[in-house]
Amino acid sequence: MYIDPHTHMISRTTDDYEAMAAAGIVAVIEPAFWIGQPRTFVGSYIDYLSSIVGFERFRAGQFGIRHYCTIGLNSKEANNEELAEGVMEILPRFALKDGVVAIGEIGYDEQTELEDKYYRLQLELAKELDLPVMIHTPHRDKKRGTTRSMDVCEEHGVDPSKVVVDHNNEETVKETLDRGFWAAFSIYPSTKMGNVRMVEILRQYGAERIIVDSACDWGISEPLGVPKTATLAIERGVPEEHVRLACYQNALDAYGQSGQMHEDDWLNPSAIDQRTLYEGNSILRGGREPRVEKPAARRTMEELEIE
């Protein structure tokens, strides 16, 4: 069983859901983020939050995947002050929804004053609501941005064991781990981590407080990032227990601190969830053949007939 704790499923197709379920992913976490170009009306943001707590959860459930999300004002759109103010006002309402496991993904993009302002306000909100935090570390000027993100957490008295610092790499991992934070890595081709490199990180640091995710989104990304990394790691001699921690248990422990994510959600779901939100268990339980072939064949001109 795997958990992918950073997936923008709103941008992904049902082929991805099918492939993820077949590969053994039982749960995903969808962070609130921008959707590729800036929103300009608060209403768009509100409707987006509604859809990641509503329809997207339902969509995932149809494939036997439990879907959770984080709620927050992301760093990019924090730069639109009018929008940001409007979003901050409705955040507490959405933070209480079923399946919201953290405030996130928040942090810095360009490290502007406005980004800093709203990052701090949301750290305070997370403390008030006793929710974990998911931090998006900047892709440009990452080293200093990551350090600064953690400095500000400490300044606000946020407990590092409640904070997942995401998008780490070789340059940031040591400091993140040393300072007591969870260190997540996004296996995302070309721009973020690769999984051969991830295997080396696991070898060097072990798996304590290390989390693997795919951060799959609208770009060319890999919804099977977590299972592929897990399988590669085992093939290359990383102990199974470390792989289990990095690709399942640590995500559950970190985000489970919200009280909104439990192993029973997929192992033994409540009756009402089974009837309304979740189509039973993944196809792997019961020993049937994984359907990985079908999506691949559909993506080419091989299978012409459409029923």
Binding site: G259, I272, L277
Partner: protein, 288 residues
């Protein structure tokens, strides 16, 4: 004198909930009675599943009878504890007319799936419910089965409120999204010729596509089956699927056309089962 619905719900919850949960609920209701605020209401609604859990509401036959007596058509079967509590809290927050309607719409628009289901299931219990119709229609518009069924199934609201077009769209949609017609209240009462035509057209679409037809489709065709529709029933009666033949028999029995009797008689055993009451739409639903 029957109990008010809120009283019944509160009693059922207190009977089932552990002490801390019961107390939390009581405190929320007291707070709302004293000083209702939108923020307080939103927080109470948001926290409900965390405080009370999501177990199914345990109801006896007596409870269901009491529900029917308190509000005819109210069917709380399948409700979960958090759903029932949310409806209780919303009603306790008070307000009526446009005030309640605005609050209801506002909550529906930012509801997660669980909240949406609770909000729509409570429709028979809300004040001035005729003002909630547009939002109820939005619930039916959803492709999330749970949300759709919260309005359509075991709910007197559509039967009482929806005009013919809305009603027809809801019934057809039940078939379309792979839900069922059987739990829709008022199926027979509100059957109409337009719906019968739409359903026959839909059956033809399915036949042309080589896709199966849900047997219960014929239920709302039967009472208006003459001419072409009768031909459709005869075709359904000849299908290889046993359940479909049973459905066709039931529909033929409801047809006003004189020729229908002969077609029904030709089904032999099935005709007598319909006659004796051994075969009914209810018994058919239990089969699937």
């Amino acid at each position: 004198m029957s109990d008010k619905p809120s009283e019944l719900i509160h009693r059922w919850l207190n009977r089932q909930l552990p002490e801390p949960a019961e107390q939390w609920l009581g405190a929320q209701l007291a707070k709302l009675a004293e000083e209702p605020t939108e923020r307080g209401l939103q927080i109470a609604l948001g926290m409900t599943p965390r405080r009370l859990g999501k177990d199914d509401l345990a109801l006896s036959q007596d409870d269901l009878a009491a529900a029917e007596a308190a509000r005819p058509g109210w069917d709380p079967r399948g409700w979960s504890v958090d759903e029932a509590a949310r409806i209780l809290i919303l009603v306790a927050a008070g307000g009526r007319g446009p005030t309640f309607a605005k609050r209801f719409t506002d909550l529906c628009q930012t509801a997660d799936a669980g909240e949406a289901i609770a909000l729509y299931r409570g429709l028979p219990l809300y004040p001035d419910a005729e003002l909630l119709e547009d939002q109820a229609a939005e619930g039916v518009r959803s492709n999330m089965r749970g949300t759709f069924e919260a309005v359509a199934h075991r709910n007197p609201y559509p039967r009482e409120r929806f005009d013919e077009n809305r009603w027809n769209q809801m019934v057809v949609k039940a078939l379309f999204i792979g839900s069922t017609m059987q739990p829709i209240q008022g199926l027979d009462e509100r059957a109409n010729p337009t719906l019968a035509k739409i359903l026959c057209d839909y059956a033809h679409e399915r036949w042309a596509a080589g896709r199966p037809i849900a047997p219960e489709l014929w239920r709302c065709v039967g009472p208006f089956a003459r001419g072409a529709a009768l031909e459709d029933l005869k075709r359904a009666a000849e299908t290889s699927d046993a359940t479909s033949r049973k459905a066709a028999a039931l529909a033929l029995a409801a047809s006003p056309a004189p020729e229908a009797k002969a077609s029904l008689a030709a089904l032999g055993e099935l005709a007598s089962a319909v006659e004796s009451g051994g075969l009914s739409w209810e018994s058919l639903a239990q089969e699937s």
